[in-house]
Subunit: 446 residues, 2 copies
């Protein structure tokens, strides 16, 4: 693959495919890798996307489908026939086929499996039994394994017989006669070792294989912490059933990051989703926010009399609420990041809580002096200026509680703390902001 | 590395290192990989972190320092002597040494370089000339290169002479006598090829090497799009100067995702930063928000008379503002994600804009009916209920403009659109929310 050249192609195709002839586009697609074509599809509105996909060769469709996000993948798959799909996935790796087939309606999936060879079908049916977000969902069965009593010379001639090794083969695995995992040897070690040496003598046995049920983000962490290219996967009985490679792990890392970012804002859709689907994905958190906004409004309603007497209260109250919201989102983000990276636990959460409290007091003092000064200069009302300063300190301190407790509680009740956490957190700071400011005003001004 | 065992260690050390004896902790650290130790340090408050670091062997310190975030790295480096640091980095890869040295005060850096061998110093000085966030900042010089007229047999005996190959060596590079890059061969291909074949005949020449000045996120994209393990890097003259490996690219991907998430909330600090530093990192966007909150307040101030006459306006106005803020953040997030993934460009931005408009109208109708109904049921004021519904539609439509234009403008003026974008965007929706609701009320109710 010629990266520079195909990158240019990619730009051209995304920017102006409407101005190109069908043949020009087809030629360009031929020069692009599957992930690049997938990127072009994800960067295209639905209509153009369908056109581009229809120009692909059947044997390329499978690889491209695998690289796509779930939503776009399902859209495109629903437009092609069972025969074409079976043809398209024929040459793919197990985890990739499974990734595509598992989203199909049961009947379609069975129809496609029925048209495959016995060996392929059994392999895929095994793959389909693993949950998508576990090591099992990422594994390929294209492992090369040798016996501990083989010599390096025997290993090399065995590898020569294989011809091309599977992609990203940095190591081969050592198993016993029952296919139980014993150890591994790097390809680079095979090439540099004395051919007479026996596998047992140089195999690495200190690396633990991945359990098939391990969660995919745990797999990603193990790859990162140990700089792995590939890792063996074993079943409950210690038998080698496949391997996971770094390219699939990189996809897991990207998707996790993507979900964190989107989750915070309460969206879950691809960039060029059609309007109806996008509206549906967002309306839930908008509705939640509507409820919480009415909760905040009914807090204000308690202080109708105060607002009736001093109109400046209405003018100033959103300031206290909004500052608390920003501070709470900052704390929330730090906690979410710490939870995602598994940095936060029972022993350091107290330290974190005290630190956040100290931060809110430090920034609270600076900002409340500022807010008081600006208010006094603007409206020339000393008591009001002092009250808003105090209310701000109260709200910034409560923002710490919200920013730390909300994600921890969400996680405790098995909800993703990244999703919608900010709507809940800002409700708390809105309510406490209005309560503290209007409450103080009622006590000292009315 | 025994991942399961050291993962347990990691948990124990993070959860309860205060209850363990120094010797117990030291034993555990000995069983952990550098990234795992780094994770333990990043999960520890400053005091405990310094203790853990002080227990490391000098030869491990370098690898651990490299794995740490910049801030923690600098803290720890400032506590160790020049001699210890020089010793710690001695065995490291070029990109790793450079990563640590480039953050040192000039005098310290020169002192350490002066104590190195001539060869090491020159190599590191070259590394230091590349900006941190380019291919040059990621490259290692541990490349293995051969000539096109070598036979595979010669290549294999050359590799055997080398003994252990550098980590993540999946391919070696082919260069001419001037060290200009010509092509590459996979290690797995060397092992499976006929030893009599000449390198020229089987080398891959269609892969473009990375330019040393390429930005690091472009490097990550190329690795992802082509499922690479390693890639050659060339200078302006086409000479091979090093290679980049996937483990460093994974770090780039993680850091980019981290910055996107943190940037949205206007924080930039590690999870366990001391209070003073954390407060400083957050006060800027809090202050920005203070300014924008006063802008919103002065918008409200325009409608003092209306608020004076109808107190319910004050009760309801935050609802319109808050709904617009959530909708704008949703649009902003989709645009930011699209920009980060390079999915958005001049030709599809129009489609995206129309889609967002359609979404805001669809959700606007649903939500404004809801908001109107709730208001009418709650306060029994028909006109007010109709007005807030209309104001909400106006604000949701304007949230689309803000959510799309703000990040595009920020990027146009070379600012990171992820940082602080949400503060600006919610200011727009606050102001327009107050303007539309209070404005409509002034026209129809006063």
């Amino acid at each position: 693959m010629n990266s520079n050249f195909s990158r240019d192609n990619l730009k051209t195709i995304i920017d102006s495919s409407s101005n190109l002839s069908i043949n020009q586009i087809r030629r360009m697609l031929n020069n692009m890798s599957a992930p690049e074509i997938a990127h072009a599809l994800e960067s295209s509105p639905p209509e153009q996307r369908n056109l581009l996909f229809s120009l692909l060769k059947t044997e390329e469709e499978g690889d491209v489908l695998f690289e796509l996000g779930e939503e776009i993948q399902q859209d495109l798959v629903s437009n092609i026939s069972n025969e074409e799909l079976a043809e398209a996935v024929k040459e793919m790796e197990l985890d990739e086929i499974v990734d595509i087939l598992q989203n199909l309606p049961l009947e379609r999936m069975e129809n496609i499996l029925a048209n495959m060879s016995n060996v392929d079908r059994k392999r895929i049916e095994m793959g389909l039994t693993f949950p998508d977000d576990t090591a099992g969902g990422l594994l390929n069965t294209d492992v090369i394994s040798v016996r501990p009593d083989n010599s390096i010379k025997e290993v090399i001639s065995y590898l020569r017989e294989q011809g091309d090794l599977p992609e990203n083969t940095d190591k081969i695995f050592v198993v016993n006669n029952d296919n139980e995992y014993l150890g591994e040897i790097l390809i680079s070690q095979i090439i540099t070792s004395d051919p007479m040496i026996i596998v047992r003598e140089i195999m690495e046995t200190s690396v633990f294989p991945l359990d098939v049920a391990l969660e995919d983000n745990e797999v990603a962490t193990i790859f990162e912490r140990n700089d792995l290219i590939s890792s063996p996967v074993i079943d409950n009985n210690g038998k080698l059933i496949g391997r996971i490679t770094i390219d699939d792990v990189v996809d897991v890392i990207r998707e996790d990051a993507d979900q964190n970012l989107l989750g915070m804002a309460g969206v879950a859709e691809d960039t060029f989703a059609p309007p109806g689907r996008a509206a549906k994905s967002r309306v839930f958190w908008l509705s939640m926010n509507l409820i919480t906004a009415f909760i905040a409004a009914s807090t204000i309603n308690i202080f109708k009399d105060a607002l009736d007497q001093i109109v400046y209260l209405a003018v100033l109250m959103p300031i206290v609420a909004s500052m608390g919201g920003v501070a709470a989102t900052q704390t929330l983000t730090i906690v979410l990041r710490g939870l995602t990276l598994e940095q936060i636990n029972m022993s350091n959460i107290k330290w974190l809580f005290k630190r956040e409290l100290a931060v809110s007091i430090l920034n609270g003092i600076v900002l409340s002096v500022l807010v008081g000064l600006i208010t006094y200069i603007w409206l020339n009302e000393l008591t009001l200026a002092i009250l808003i300063a105090f209310a701000l300190v109260i709200n910034l301190i409560s923002s710490v509680l919200a920013g730390i407790l909300v994600p921890l509680i969400l996680r405790k009740i098995n909800q993703d703390p990244a999703i919608g956490g900010s709507v809940i957190v800002t409700t708390v700071t809105d309510v406490i902001g209005f309560l503290s400011f209007l409450g103080l005003a009622t006590i000292y001004l009315i």
